[in-house]
């Protein structure tokens, strides 16, 4: 499973992107609940463009961006730097649900959201920051 995903991420990057963009998260999110939940992420991540990078990269306009390419962020793991995929709501959902399976070797240490609804709420909140 892991190997397959790695191959998909590294070798089939462009194709993967097309597929992933077609997928939407199943649940409707609530941006206000997302704001409350996102507070825990603010030890490292800020979606406001005026803050920029923190312990983790800025999440401003995250959807549609190529992963691991935020200007000025020098702390990407090799795994993320080489991942070659574009962030979509579905991929962020998958990352938060199961970070180790999604991208082995990533260095984001966090307490995963407890439910799919919480992930949907977080995603809805992030969509409010500079989505193209």
């Amino acid at each position: 499973m892991k190997k397959t995903l790695l191959v998909a991420l590294c070798g089939l990057g462009a194709l993967w992107n097309q597929l992933a963009q077609a997928d939407e998260t199943v649940l409707a999110g609530d941006a206000e609940r997302g704001r409350q939940l996102f507070g825990a992420c603010r030890t490292c991540h800020y979606p406001e463009s005026y803050v920029g990078n923190h312990n983790g990269p800025s999440l401003h306009a995250i959807f549609g961006r190529e992963a691991g390419t935020r200007e000025g962020f020098e702390y990407y793991s090799a795994a993320l730097k080489n991942a070659q995929f574009v962030w979509t709501p579905a991929l962020l959902d998958a990352w938060m649900a199961n970070p180790e399976e999604f991208l082995p070797g990533n260095e984001m240490v966090f307490v995963p959201p407890r439910t799919a609804q919480e992930r949907a709420d977080l995603i809805e909140y992030l969509k409010g920051f500079g989505e193209p």
Binding site: M1, T4, L5, A8, L12, L15, W16, Q18, L19, A20, D23, V26, E32, R35, Q36, L37, F38, G39, A40, C41, R42, T43, C44, Y46, E48, V51, G52, N53, H54, N55, Y75, A90, D93, A94, M96, A97, N98, P99, E100, E101, F102, N106, E107, V109, F110, V111, P112, R114, T115, A116
Partner: protein, 517 residues
């Protein structure tokens, strides 16, 4: 061909998404955690040792690394065990502030006069009934030597002072990180800035600090093993702690022997919900929980299972960051009865505590057109906006006249630069007269109030874990937020947790080596 491959990849991807609905691996492991003591294994159960060293340290944050570095400096062979794939613990996510004083070289270079006595008086006053005078005295008397110790590790400060209440710009290294200039503390001890922080943008000084501590430890030969999760203490038949049962990345259980001792430095328990609800219900009620994912209380529960005593388990920081911007501090913070209850310029740890513990997490921040935030802010949502205080009071469903009285009384004195009730600093006093008037919702759960735990194992001044009779458990140390030490509630100043963890972590390492720090 391409379509077929794509179809397979897509199916796998969708399978993954549906699997993920069941929760990640990490959560599975975490949900097994409870609030009960973790029983120590007995030495006679150990069939074989899979490794051996002098000092085993659980946790690679500031406290654990300080113990490791000091132990190694004094000749011990040291191994540090880190549960996750990245070292550094919560310290690496922190601002990296270290609370030091008594006339440090940086304080002197910037023209600030401080003394051990002033520092002591501030900390004793701010800790109130929870102060441990002997611990505070040792910390203050050792502060200059601690500055040198950090300097030897490579920690450098910029000769730049900031008068901001929170350091967010990155180029400065010294500031008033607590309530030194605020009432009542400014009357109890001569104020001095004691928050020392390596220059780093957006409060990422903790990452810089931990990078330096890990580099220093590596130079001293300290081994840091990632993805090694300490699960159980091992005790000899005479009660001495002689090692740890550790689970490696592959899920294998290993018995590691520690010839001189084990240091529990695995952080607090803000991410262990059952434990938080059992011991610190006020903290459990607020969001967000701040701390790295390892703050699961595991070190505390292991120490408890070995007979360690717990102290101040309901203490923690509850930081309600009204500032920045400091303009809003010209407004008033009222409870659900429309009354002020604290000086708005209080250190945000003091503000958060008064609000969460004494006002049950209810209230409003009331500002006028001049003191409002520059724009919408992620921390707080608007409860009401109105053209007059009367209309705002009605919209908030406050008791009739309550807010009008509060603001009227406040304005009457603020116009003269006075605050007879709560003695707010003059620079934050202004009449609230310019519409629109806004009330930001300070309701627990909605308001952004970061929480972290301070309670933990009782330790002596050398970091030895004490049992309920006050006797040290041989071979067992605790440091940082696994222990109950200098930080108490309300929190005294930013940088005291890192300061405490590194200072008493050092002492634990030195004691295990059989020498003083």
């Amino acid at each position: 061909m391409e379509m077929a491959a794509g179809g397979r990849a897509r199916r796998r991807f969708m399978e993954r998404l549906s699997l993920s609905g069941l929760g990640g691996l990490g959560m599975g492991a975490m949900s097994a955690l409870g609030a009960t003591p973790v029983q120590a294994a007995t030495g006679s159960e150990v069939r074989q040792w899979d490794g051996e060293t002098d000092l085993l340290v659980m946790g690679s944050g500031a406290a654990g690394m300080a113990a490791a570095i000091e132990g190694a400096r004094q000749g011990l062979e040291v191994t540090v065990l880190e549960k996750f794939q990245l070292a550094g613990g919560s310290s690496s996510l922190s601002g990296g502030v270290c609370y030091m004083g008594g006339g440090t070289p940086l304080q002197k270079a910037l023209g600030f006069d401080d003394s051990v006595e002033n520092m002591y008086h501030y900390l004793v006053a701010a800790a109130g009934v929870h102060a441990e005078p002997a611990r505070i005295q040792l910390y203050c008397e050792g502060s200059l030597a601690h500055f040198d110790w950090l300097n030897e590790l490579g920690v450098r400060y910029a000769t730049r002072f900031s008068s901001d209440k929170e350091l967010s710009h990155g180029a400065d290294s010294l500031y008033y990180s607590g309530g030194e200039q605020t009432w009542p503390f400014r009357e109890q001890a001569k104020p001095a800035p004691r928050g020392h922080v390596p220059p780093a943008h957006n409060q990422t000084g903790g990452r810089e600090l931990m990078k330096l501590m890990h580099a220093a430890a590596a130079r001293l030969g300290v081994k840091v093993q990632l993805r090694m999760s300490a699960e159980q203490l091992i005790r000899a038949s005479d009660g001495r702690v002689i090692g740890l049962v550790v689970e490696d990345a592959a899920g294998q259980r290993l018995n590691l022997r520690a010839r001189r001792g084990v240091v529990l430095a695995a952080g607090g328990f803000i991410h262990n919900r059952p434990m938080l609800q059992r011991y610190a219900p006020e903290l459990a009620s607020s969001q967000p929980a701040w701390g790295r994912a390892g703050d699961l209380g595991m070190g505390i529960l292991m120490g408890l299972g070995a007979g360690g005593n717990l102290l101040r388990m309901d203490h923690g920081f509850a930081v309600l960051p009204l500032y920045p911007s400091e303009e809003v501090l010209k407004g008033v913070v009222v409870n659900r009865f429309g009354q002020r209850f604290i000086n708005e310029d209080a250190y945000y740890g003091g503000m958060g505590h008064a609000w969460l513990f004494q006002q049950q997490g209810h209230g409003f921040l009331v500002v006028d057109g001049d003191s409002d935030y520059p724009g919408p802010d992620y921390r707080f949502t608007l409860a009401a906006e109105a053209a007059s205080i009367e209309a705002l009071e009605t919209a908030l469903k406050l008791p009739p006249g309550a807010l009008v009285n509060t603001v009227g009384y406040y304005n009457q004195h603020a116009a003269r630069g006075e605050d007879p009730q709560f003695r707010k600093q003059t620079k934050y006093l202004a009449t609230l007269t310019k519409p629109p008037f806004k009330a930001y919702d300070l309701t627990v759960g909605k308001a952004f109030c970061t929480v972290h735990t301070f309670g933990g194992l009782e330790i002596d001044l050398d970091g030895r874990v004490l049992d309920g009779w006050g006797s040290a458990i041989p071979g067992l140390y605790a440091a940082g937020r696994t222990s109950a030490s200098l930080p108490v509630a309300p929190y005294l100043a930013s940088g005291l947790s890192i300061g405490d963890g590194t200072f008493f972590g050092r002492r634990a390492g030195a004691h295990a080596a059989g020498k003083g720090a």
